[in-house]
Amino acid sequence: MKEKFEGRAYVLGNNVDTDQIIPAAHLVYSLSDPEERKKYGEYALSGVPAEGAGLPKGNTPFIEEGKWQSEYSVIIGGKNFGCGSSREHAPACMEIAGVQAVIAESYARIFYRNSVDGGFFIPFESEKLLTEEINTGDELAIDLKANTLTNRTQNKTYSLKPLGDVKDIIEAGNIFEYAKKTGLIPA
C-alpha cells in the first residue's frame, strides 16, 4: 500500500448515486477485457447532472471527450457517496479512469465495501464536509501514515478518519489477499 499520493481534486456533492457514477446503459461492457474495460473510464461519472459536475463551478466534465482517463485522481464527495446499486462497475470505472482515492463525509455501504474488497481505491472518510472548501482542480496530497489530506493550492491540512475495521483488508490489497493472510483460503 502506498503511503503517500497526490493528485488533482474533482469535487461532487451529496448523495452521488451509482447511476450517476456509471449509468446503467453502459453496464454491458466486460471489466476483464483490456480494451472493452476502457469504456468504463470513458463513461465514468457521466451521469452526474452538469450543474453538479466539478464543484463549485459545475459543467466540468470528469473525462474529456474521446478520452478514458481523467486528469483528476482524487474525488471529494459529501454525504452518502455511492448510494444505490451494488454494481461494482461504479468503483471499477473510477479506478479505470485513474482515481486513486475518494474522500467523502460518508458512504453508502455497498459502494464502500466494493471499493475495499475489490481493492479499487481507498474510500477515506473526512472529519467534516469538504465539498464546500475544496475546489475542483486543487492540488491535493494524502499522507496515509499521518492520516491527513493537504490542499496544496489553498495551503490547508485536514485530518481523515482512521480506516477502522477495513484497514487490514486495505493493507492486504483486497478480500482475497486478506483471506490468504488470515488462512481462510490457501496462499
Binding site: D17, P23, A24, L27, G47, S86, A108, I175
Partner: protein
C-alpha cells in the same frame, strides 16, 4: 443474551451463540444469486483467483437469474447472457433460468421467492442491491458486488459486520387505498436516504403482519433506498404457507427477543397513513400524493421488483377497470408467473390483461426493463424530458434512461389513478367505493 432476528441468523451462520452489532464475522452462505449484469464480472474474478478450472463451492446454492437486459438487441448484453450459459454448463448448475426458453422467469428478487429459494432463517447474498427484498421471508439477505460474489463462489463464506437494528411498527389496519409502497416511501422520507446506513430495518406490528407475502416483499425491497443493509419481517404462518408450496427444504424461524436492543424504534398508526410519492430526484423526497396534483405527467410505469407483482397489477386493474388512460401507460410484469396471473386473474369477469388492453396500456415482457433505463431499445425507457409516475424503486437523475426525465415514485394505486387523469392523483379520488 437478547438478540434481534438478524443477529440470531448471523450468529448461527458464524457458528456462534451470539452476535452483537459491530462484530465482524465470517458467515456461511445458504444461497448466492447473480444475474446478467453482474454475473459475468463475478465469474471472471472467481476464475482469476480460484483458477480457470475451479468449481463453485456448492452448485445447489448458486442461483443464476438473468433479468436485466433480456429483450434487447444490444450485442454486449446478449454476449453477457451467453457467458452465464457457458458457466452454468461448465459448473453443472441446477438453478438457472435461461432467457428464450420455458425456464425463463424474469426479475430475480421475485423469481427467488416464486421458485422457492427464499427460506426463513437463511443467509442469502445477491449481486443486486434489492436483494434485501428476500428479508420478507424472515431471512438475512443483502446486496454485494462482483468481488464478494466471486469470493463466495470459491469459499461459500463472506465477512459481515453485524448491523444495528431499527424497528418500525405499524399498528391497527391500513386503509384500503394504502399499499406497502406508501408505507415504505413514508418511512424513507422520515429517516432520509442514508437514515438506515449499515443498519437492519425490521418491520413489525399487527398491520404489517396482515400483509401478503408480495406486499411484505415490497416493504423490504427498498431498505437500500434508506441505506439499509437488510430488511426483515419475522416469518409466520403466511410465510410458511408460501414457502411450503415452493420448497421442501428444512428451515428455522427466528424471532426477535422482547428485550433485544434496537438503535431506533418508531411506531405508526396504520389507519392514519396516506398515499405518498417520492418526488425527483431522490426516494426520500417525500410528499403526499394529494399535494402533487399540479404535477402534469407524460407517462405511468407499473413494473419492477418493487411494483410489478400480481398484487400490484390487481391494484392497478381495480382502478383502470372500464376506464381509458390519458397518458402512455406501461405494464411490465416482474416474472412469467406474474404475467400468467395477469392473463388468468379476473375482476368483474375480465382478465387483468383485458382490462389493461381496453384501458390502452402497453404490456411488456417480464424483466427489469426501464426501471433502470438500460440499453436504448429497452421497453418503457425514457429518452427525453418525460415526467413519469412509476412503481419502481429509484428516481435518481437519469435512472429510467434520460437525464432530462423526472420520476415520481408511487404505489400501483397512485400510478394507475394518475394514468387516468394525466397528473399525480391520490387514488381516493378515483376509487370512491373503497373510501
Amino acid at each position: 443474551m437478547a438478540m434481534t432476528i438478524t443477529e440470531k441468523i448471523l450468529a448461527a451462520h458464524a457458528g456462534k451463540t451470539s452476535a452483537q452489532p459491530g462484530d465482524n464475522i465470517w458467515v456461511d452462505v445458504d444461497v448466492l444469486m447473480t444475474h446478467d449484469v453482474c454475473g459475468p464480472g463475478a465469474i471472471a474474478i472467481f476464475k482469476k483467483h480460484f483458477g480457470q478450472n475451479a468449481k463453485v463451492w456448492d452448485p445447489e446454492k448458486l442461483v443464476i437469474i438473468p433479468d436485466h437486459y433480456i429483450f434487447t438487441e444490444d450485442p454486449h448484453a446478449l454476449r453477457n447472457v451467453d457467458i452465464l450459459r457457458d458457466f452454468v454448463k461448465e459448473q453443472n448448475l441446477p438453478y438457472y433460468y435461461d432467457p428464450g426458453t420455458d425456464d425463463y422467469k424474469g426479475v430475480c428478487h421475485v423469481a427467488l421467492a416464486q421458485e422457492g429459494h427464499n427460506r426463513p432463517g437463511e443467509v442469502l447474498f445477491g449481486t443486486d442491491s434489492h436483494t434485501c427484498t428476500s428479508g420478507a421471508f424472515g431471512m438475512f439477505s443483502t446486496g454485494i458486488g462482483n468481488t464478494d460474489a466471486a469470493f463466495i463462489m470459491g469459499t461459500g463464506k463472506l465477512w459481515v459486520k453485524v448491523p444495528e437494528t431499527m424497528r418500525f411498527e405499524f399498528h391497527g389496519t391500513f386503509p384500503p387505498y394504502i399499499m406497502a409502497k406508501d408505507i415504505l416511501l413514508q418511512v424513507i422520507g422520515d429517516i432520509g436516504c442514508d437514515g438506515a446506513t449499515y443498519r437492519t430495518m425490521e418491520w413489525a406490528g399487527d398491520a404489517v403482519m396482515q400483509f401478503s407475502m408480495e406486499e411484505r416483499m415490497t416493504l423490504c425491497n427498498m431498505a437500500i433506498e434508506a441505506g439499509g443493509k437488510n430488511s426483515v419481517i419475522e416469518a409466520d404462518s403466511v410465510t410458511e404457507k408460501y414457502v411450503r408450496e415452493r420448497s421442501d427444504k428444512s428451515y428455522s424461524i427466528e424471532h426477535s427477543d422482547a428485550d433485544a436492543k434496537y438503535i431506533f424504534r418508531k411506531s405508526y398508526d396504520a389507519a392514519a397513513m396516506e398515499p405518498v410519492v417520492a418526488k425527483p430526484h431522490s426516494p426520500d423526497n417525500k410528499a403526499l400524493a394529494r399535494e402533487c396534483s399540479d404535477v402534469k405527467l407524460d407517462r405511468s410505469y407499473i413494473g419492477s421488483c418493487t411494483g410489478g407483482k400480481l398484487t400490484d397489477f390487481l391494484a392497478a386493474a381495480e382502478i383502470l377497470n372500464g376506464q381509458k388512460v390519458k397518458i402512455e401507460t406501461y405494464i411490465v410484469p416482474a416474472t412469467r408467473e406474474v404475467e400468467h396471473g395477469i392473463r388468468e386473474t379476473k375482476i368483474d369477469g375480465k382478465t387483468l390483461q383485458t382490462i389493461f388492453e381496453e384501458a390502452g396500456c402497453h404490456i411488456g415482457e417480464p424483466s427489469c426493463a426501464a426501471c433502470l433505463g438500460g440499453p436504448k431499445d429497452t421497453f418503457g425507457r425514457t429518452h427525453g424530458t418525460e415526467v413519469v409516475v412509476s412503481t419502481t424503486n429509484r428516481n435518481f437523475p437519469g435512472r429510467m434512461g434520460s437525464k432530462q426525465s423526472a420520476v415520481y415514485l408511487a404505489s400501483p394505486y397512485t400510478a394507475a389513478a394518475s394514468a387516468l387523469t394525466g397528473h399525480i392523483t391520490d387514488p381516493r379520488e378515483v376509487m370512491p367505493a373503497k373510501v
